[in-house]
Symmetry: C2
Subunit: 138 residues, 2 copies
Amino acid sequence: MELSHIEHIGIAVKNLEQAIPYYEDILGLKCYAVEEVKDQKVKTAFFKIGMTKLELLESTDPEGAVAKFIEKRGEGVHHIAFATADGVQNALDDAKEKGLRLIDKKPRKGAEGLNIAFLHPKSTFGVLTELCENPSDK
Amino acid sequence: MELSHIEHIGIAVKNLEQAIPYYEDILGLKCYAVEEVKDQKVKTAFFKIGMTKLELLESTDPEGAVAKFIEKRGEGVHHIAFATADGVQNALDDAKEKGLRLIDKKPRKGAEGLNIAFLHPKSTFGVLTELCENPSDK
C-alpha cells in the first residue's frame, strides 16, 4: 500500500462541549465542523492542523465502540487514519494478502464523505488503524 | 499558543525489532533512524509520512514511563507532539496561565535534538501532549 499523509487522528472524549474549548482556546485550533456519524454511533468535531485533522469522538450510545473504549482505557487517542495514495481497496487487498486482520473487508462511508476501512489493532501493534480516501480526489 | 503541524505521534511498542517490519513492509514507510533517548528510558525508531513522523518507543527499563504505559493500557498511541510556531516556552507560559497542568515547566532536550515539553493528560482530555520546536529553525 502507499500512504501519503495522516488524514486524521481520532480522539475519544466523554463530552464534545467540554473538550472543544480546550482545543480552541488553549491549543488555538478552530473547530470547523461538528457532524453525527450514526453508523459509528458518534458525534464528531473537526479541527485542522497542517495536513492533518483532529477528530474528537463522543459516543451517542453507551454500547458504542467509543463508549466501550473510554470505559476500558479512559479518554485519549482512539485511532490513526492514513490517507491512501492508491485507494482503500488496494490497501485492504495488500493488508489481507500480508496476513493482517481486517475490521472492514470493503471500504465504507465515514465522516466527511470519505471512503474508509479499519485494520484490527491486534495486527497493528495496538494502533487502531483507519485507511481512507477522499472520493472527490479521484 | 500557536501550533503549526503535528510533529510526531509517539507509539508505545513492546519490541522495536518486531514492530518496524509492520511499518516498513505493510504500511510502506521507511525507518530512517533508530535512536536511544536515555533520559526517557526509550529506544526510538522514526518514520516520516507527510509533515509528520511516527516515533515508535520501546522501553529500555521496566520502570520507565513507556513500560508502565504498556503494562496498564497495552501497546498503542502514547502521545501526540505538536510543533509550536512561537516556541515551546511561550506555549508553556500560555498553558500555565490558562490553568493547565504541566509535566515540564521548562523545555528540555528530546529525540532528534528538539526542544520539548509535555502537558499532563489530566488537563488535555486524556491525550499526553508534547510541544516541540526544532532549535535549528530559529
